[in-house]
């Protein structure tokens, strides 16, 4: 179990590399989206490890937050207003 969480943390570090060195804003936002989904996976595995079911509620909230963030940045990049 610890090994699985370590592999996912390695994935998060790879995404952090892309966030630091991404040439454009879209690269950074793709990396932030993927890192959010990987944190959802880490949270789910920690819920199994510590036997705490309410950590999965946190995972669902993180998923919704990542989705809303990506949609807001896509609206901004498409040169449209938020109430369009």
């Amino acid at each position: 179990m610890i090994v699985m969480i370590s592999f996912l943390a390695l994935c998060a570090f790879l995404c952090f590399y892309r966030i630091l060195l991404g040439p454009t804003i879209s690269d950074r936002m793709v990396a932030v989206d993927i890192m959010g989904i990987i944190f959802v996976g880490i949270t789910a595995l920690m819920a199994v490890l510590f036997k705490l079911p309410y950590l999965l509620d946190l995972a669902i909230a993180l998923t919704i937050l990542s989705f809303i963030g990506v949609l807001a940045l896509a609206k901004y990049l498409g040169k449209r207003r938020l109430d369009d």
Binding site: M4, F7, L8, L10, C11, L14, C15, Y17, R18, T24, S26, D27, M29, V30, A31, D33, I34, I37, I38, V40, G41, A44, L45, A47, V48, P53, L56, D57, A59, I60, T63, I64, S66, F67, V70, L71, L73, A74, K75, Y76, L77, G78, K79
Partner: protein, 116 residues
């Protein structure tokens, strides 16, 4: 037996996660990176959730994992599509080795692939 299948599916999901992040590092431009990483990471995290559901069955933990996995499976392609459309309208160029840019040619006017 079914717990063993669940652990195997979780390992497959972690392998997909690692491959997706490797694609995020190695591919040349934002569209290739989005293609590789979104597909692999969606399947990877969905695999982790399905594995937890198979291990725990119809307990609160299993049902929450199933709901979270289905939500990821529905929302991640929608977000990726919106981000790709926004960035191509914003004017981020394709990689110079690309061979076809039908969206930029028809909707935005003119060739938008960078000069070789």
């Amino acid at each position: 037996m079914i717990e063993t299948i669940g652990w195997i599916i979780i390992w497959i999901g972690i392998a997909f996660d690692i491959l997706g992040c490797l694609g995020l590092i190695r591919f040349p431009d934002v569209y290739n990176r989005l293609q590789a990483s979104t597909k692999c990471v969606t399947l990877g995290t969905f695999g982790i959730m399905i594995g937890i559901f198979l291990i725990h069955g119809f307990t609160p933990m299993g049902i929450k994992a199933l709901i979270c996995g289905l939500f990821i499976l529905l929302t991640s392609p929608v977000g990726a599509h919106a981000l790709m459309r926004g960035s191509i309208i914003f004017g981020i160029k394709l990689w110079k080795g690309s061979v076809l840019d039908r969206y930029g040619k028809e909707k935005l006017g003119g060739e938008r692939i960078e000069d070789r």
